[in-house]
Symmetry: C2
Subunit: 574 residues, 2 copies
């Protein structure tokens, strides 16, 4: 009898796989794969085909979830030929190590035999460790979309060395379900031989709290964050999607292309050195940069989501200096056009040498008040490697992921970036959209961010000694995207019966567009508070009088982005 059971510690959606006295047949051969006009639809349709195709087969129906997504009703038909001999006890710490173990019940394949299985027609095989896997049926379910095909017919070890979110119990367990063989010993992939892409990571300040080490993502403690209008560079949150590239600024070149003939423009391409860019008029803008997933950890309390568990510190405010993107584009004859995009690519590469990418509307890039710059300085200092040295695109008022670091290529294009991060990430959805129903092509990529605020001091759980004056002093930040000013921050300690208007201590321009954040402070009378614990709520209002939503329940989304509900903390009064 075989019994595999796993439960997630961190999510509610991880179900239970329960299969007894059967072996696994990995993949149904009678499911058909349909083509679709759009790439993004292809996989959602394929998924439906698979799901309903599989349901038609006999066998055990095992419902389980993965990646915090409702990955249900995968049909696993157990046959004698593909028995898993390993048990859940074969672990390295908490992680299964099946992929490191040769299975005597399965055949052995060499690289040549494996590499022909690189398309859905020929079945898609991959290797990991010494395991060989037929993942054809899983393609449609891959939360990372079609990226899974990058490993088709070869080893996925180099990808998983980068995308380390795969290295967990649930995914390794799932992978083993697709096992069909062993890699011949002479073909074993050694990730050590590949040279670690993480060998050149910069040193970070020890006060930054990592939400992930590889790629490096970290935020400063809230109290520190709230202390400075301009966030010190060394405490500024870091959001890396890939290893930090090593760039020689003397050899650096930025490629700028026009890839359209719209509005009479001429297709062309040119390269700019850092010196070229520094010779252009230098602009300095104050802009907060905020991760689309800032405050995700609060949204996760409603229901788990996919993504790094950020507190409210995935934001910082700085001055950024450099050339205006508008000036670069005007010099090449670019004219405003509402339908075009500027594609931005970084020098940070995934294992297939595809760069990090994003795009913004051309209208933002060309807007005199858009203040998009090619920044080489942050708070008056040379950009650090973690923040994009030698060149970063700063897109004020726009989600952090479009502020592309290690900028290496700019293209005026009729299409948005086709990168994973533009197409299948950083988008908002209805609370009822799940991983079975999501269609990323239906939702616009996040650009300008909504209004938000957070309390920096005190922090949740603090025990406060109440002084004689009978006031509780609270301070924090507030910000809205699109250049909208913060016009008011309200706080309450009685669930909204009484609101106290905060004083806006510091903001950037007194008039016009406001890309920087605002710091605020408020003194709340607590002399009439009989409770020894109070819950403090903060909500901000921007110059379009948009206000934060009250709760996370009704803005919850499967990617855990746009988490801008009221900030609520509890403190003890002593």
């Amino acid at each position: 009898m075989l019994k595999i059971q796993f439960q997630s510690l961190s999510t509610r959606n991880i179900g239970v796989l329960f299969a007894k006295d059967r072996t696994f047949r990995l993949g149904s051969t009678n499911s058909t794969l349909r083509n679709s006009h759009t790439e993004s639809n292809q996989f959602s349709k394929l998924k439906n085909t698979l799901l309903y195709g599989c349901l038609a087969l006999g066998g055990v129906v095992a419902g389980f979830s993965l990646y915090e997504h409702k990955y249900k009703l995968l049909n696993v038909n157990l046959s004698g030929s593909q028995k898993i001999n390993n048990s859940i006890t074969e672990l390295n710490g908490d992680k299964p190590i099946w992929h490191t173990i040769r299975r005597s019940d399965l055949p052995t394949y060499n690289v040549e035999e494996i590499q022909v299985h690189c398309s859905v027609d020929k079945r898609v095989w991959v290797t990991y460790g010494i395991g060989v896997y037929d993942i054809t049926e899983f393609i449609a379910e891959h939360p990372g979309g079609e990226n899974i095909m990058l490993g088709a017919g070869s080893a996925i070890d180099p990808f998983w060395a980068i995308y380390q979110q795969h290295n967990n119990k649930e995914i390794l367990t799932l992978l083993e379900l697709y096992r069909i063989g062993n890699l011949s010993p002479e073909d074993k992939v050694s990730t050590e031989d590949m040279g670690s892409p993480w060998a050149h990571e910069p040193r970070r300040h020890p006060l930054l709290n990592p939400t992930s080490e590889r790629p490096f993502n970290a935020e400063p403690p809230m109290k520190l964050l709230g202390e400075n209008f301009f966030t010190p560079n060394e405490f500024f949150y870091v959001r890396n999607h890939l290893p930090v590239p090593l760039i020689d600024a003397n050899k650096f070149e930025l490629e700028v292309s026009i890839e359209t003939t719209e509005s009479g423009m001429k297709e062309q391409s040119k390269s700019l050195t850092l010196a070229d860019i520094k010779r252009m008029p230098k602009y300095t803008v104050t802009a907060a940069v905020m991760c689309g997933g800032n405050r995700r950890s609060e949204m996760t309390r409603v229901k788990s989501v996919k993504g790094l568990s950020w507190n409210a510190g995935a934001v910082g405010n700085a001055t950024w200096s450099g050339a205006r993107l508008r000036d670069v584009l005007l010099a090449m004859g670019v004219v405003p056009n509402e339908n075009l995009h500027v594609v931005l690519e970084g020098a940070d590469l995934d294992p297939t040498s595809h760069p990090y990418g994003a795009s913004i509307p051309l209208s933002k890039a060309m807007d005199e008040r858009g203040d998009v710059i090619l920044a080489y300085e942050m708070n008056g200092k040379v950009l650090s490697r973690d923040h994009g040295y030698p060149l970063r695109c700063i897109v004020p008022g726009t989600v952090g992921s479009r502020n592309v670091k290690w900028l290496s290529r700019i293209a005026v294009s009729e299409n948005e970036s086709n990168s994973h991060w533009q197409q299948n990430d950083y988008k908002g959805f209805s609370p009822s959209t799940d991983w079975d129903t999501v269609d990323f092509s239906k939702s616009p990529a996040i650009q300008a961010m909504p209004v938000t605020s957070a309390i920096c001091s005190p922090v949740d759980g603090d025990a406060l000694i109440i002084k004689d004056d009978g006031y509780l002093t609270v301070h924090g930040y507030a910000w809205s995207g699109g250049g909208r000013r913060i016009v008011r921050v309200d706080l309450t300690i009685d669930q909204g019966k009484t609101w106290h208007v905060a004083e806006l201590q510091q903001e950037d321009h007194p008039d016009g567009r406001h890309y920087g954040w605002s710091l605020w402070t408020v003194r709340i009378p607590i002399e009439n508070t009989t409770s020894s614990e109070v819950e403090i709520w903060a909500k901000a209002v921007d110059s379009a009088y948009n206000v934060q939503p009250e709760n996370f329940e009704n803005i919850w989304n499967l990617r855990g982005v746009l988490a801008n509900a009221y900030h609520r903390i509890r403190v003890k009064l002593i």
Copy 2:
């Protein structure tokens, strides 16, 4: 014994005035009036001075409210010399008629004696009907601010003929408290002699539901509103602040001035005829125009507010054609400047010949994507008189009150319009700000509007015959200010447990800025609904991913503007 008791039918805040066996001394002579640097602060400080000054006096403290505002703690000291002989039974219908009755206990004054009392120093007297009133102590409490001084030393009858909200029981009762005398018979003001400013009002479509007749304000029925992407001109909501002016288009002149030398501009002024404006390049924009008080009636359910009780129909969507304001200003040498404003004045005048006025930031007027136009056509037809004939400023994405009708003057200025509507109206405040603590100078005038939506069909209270298909079809509109597109509308009939994403049926541009509204429709499955009544909630999300707040409680404000919480209706299923 004198007993005056009044209760509001429409508000919670109207308190009870209860005074027995006393007479009223109107005004304390030892209260001092302080000057302040800002006009708008002056009255709030004066009010505090009065309130605390009055509290120091002996006498009966009567707490009551007025105009749905917390008008409390006015100290009324009763003395034998100013006894009100009239009782609450002296009514014309529901209205007191004391101001039409000569009081034998009070002296008689003629116009010459009254007109010297035209400043706080000399006490402020006014007449209404044949009553003479010393309103010095009330000035600070006047919800309409310093406008009250327009009548100082003279009759207020002509003002109240325009601002008809004064003609109600509470205000007439309050006024009588300030009575000090009778107007001599030969000086009686006849409002009939003045000629009615309402004599030239246009005819309106009978389907428009008035929220007030004078000035005329009306909205279409919701079902009709939701039926057309372009709202038919005759059903387009009307928001007039004053009588509709009679304008001869052949003699019409628009005055355009530059009143600043900022950025090297030259002070100048010129006049444009309608023909001049029509000779300029003609632009057509699609733009929804929405009153700042749209949906106020829903906010009022939390707590009463001051203002017209709009349903969700104080909005319409149209094409507007005319010259670009940007072109007019560029031709006069205006250059972009973040700190300047464009003051807009209408030809609609108050009794002192002051026009309706508003202003917008110069940056909006100069923005190529701002699409501000001087419109002479609405949906391809000549503007109707109710919508601003012959010329209206259309400021897309901006609250209706800045879309000045009967446009007669434009000025580039260092200051915002000093009109009541720009300075002391159409601003948002914290829910805890009341009429005692409000400081209008602290809050920015509403410009771009926040995201909102409303269900047009069914309407609240409808009884729906459920068809066999088991779906409830709901449709409505959604809109956000600032050119932000509507990206999603979610509906729920189970208090947010399940959200249904509406189909966006129609919007304006496929890309770029979106000043028009979006119409949406959704089919909600109700086969599992056991209840015979369902509550439907709608919430929209705009392209900055701002979302409507859930409830009105935490966005309530004393003016009842920006009422953009979820739209909720209840319907019966039969």
